[in-house]
Symmetry: C2
Subunit: 195 residues, 2 copies
Amino acid sequence: MDLLKQKIRAEGRVIGTEILNVDSFLNHQVDPHLMQSIGREFASLFADQGITKVITIESSGIAPAIFTGLFLDVPVIFAKKTESRNLDTETYHAAVHSFTRGTEYIIRVSKRYLSADDTILFIDDFLACGRALQGLLDIAGQAGAKVAGAGIVIEKGFQDGGSLIRNMGIRVESLAIIKEMSEEGSSITFSDDTK
Amino acid sequence: MDLLKQKIRAEGRVIGTEILNVDSFLNHQVDPHLMQSIGREFASLFADQGITKVITIESSGIAPAIFTGLFLDVPVIFAKKTESRNLDTETYHAAVHSFTRGTEYIIRVSKRYLSADDTILFIDDFLACGRALQGLLDIAGQAGAKVAGAGIVIEKGFQDGGSLIRNMGIRVESLAIIKEMSEEGSSITFSDDTK
């Protein structure tokens, strides 16, 4: 997706060789028009797959997911990361290790909103080691729901999450796949730069 | 906003006399078409106020905020609740007491994205005791930014947050104001039911 790659090149800040800070338009400050374009793209890629629910994890996945749900005309669920008094006690849940935060957290989805009748599209802002997506797949499995695939805004192609999830037979559509990056000059190479 | 009030009556689950669970369309599962209508309404209410940024707090405020930003054609910032390695160390921050969770948390906004040149519209899913909004006002004050007002999806009119914030001279537009509610039969009375 050219618009996204231009934005990453213009505003992404590379820290070391593994961290890409895109909090000017995706993770903290959000560009709603770009999110709308991203949602339209995911909806187009997964049209006619019989999707009944879009699922993401709070918080950075919500903006792209909500537009995907809008264009697919289905509800969006954001899995919760923390135990809240207001969340149903009857939940599907899975543990996820976060490399960014260096901690493990629990993601939860209420059993009210997910069942064996559902066909799910996962949406997330980043795919790196794939742990968050594995947690969501675990939850889909608990519900007996069908998984249509995953729409990822930015995939770190130099980490193993993408191949890990694809090797499980899951369709993964990433709008930008980073082949490598370097802090010096904030240089970023996308996997399809030679195309 | 009639569409919202119909949805609250149809799907809201009252717990005791103070908790309204709307996680079928706002707080966990989200109705993207309703969020779009809500965003359009907030943008209309605050049009011509010179708004440069929409600000919310992760996570449930993001969906209504992103559509508000879309229709106002401005960026959306979601204040972060937890310390993350990827967030700038240079932040505005404020402490917020959560009655829902029974804890205090810190909200943060990077100094990169908020300045004295900004005019802010706050968006949040609920207004109850007003602590989250006070935290955001604190952050706006630190940045020297102008506050155009606050757009609230559901205000608990029987709690004091609304009058507290309005008495500070802040314009608050709530799309549904609950006057009272009761667990028995999940009955909900809105403040304008007699209109």
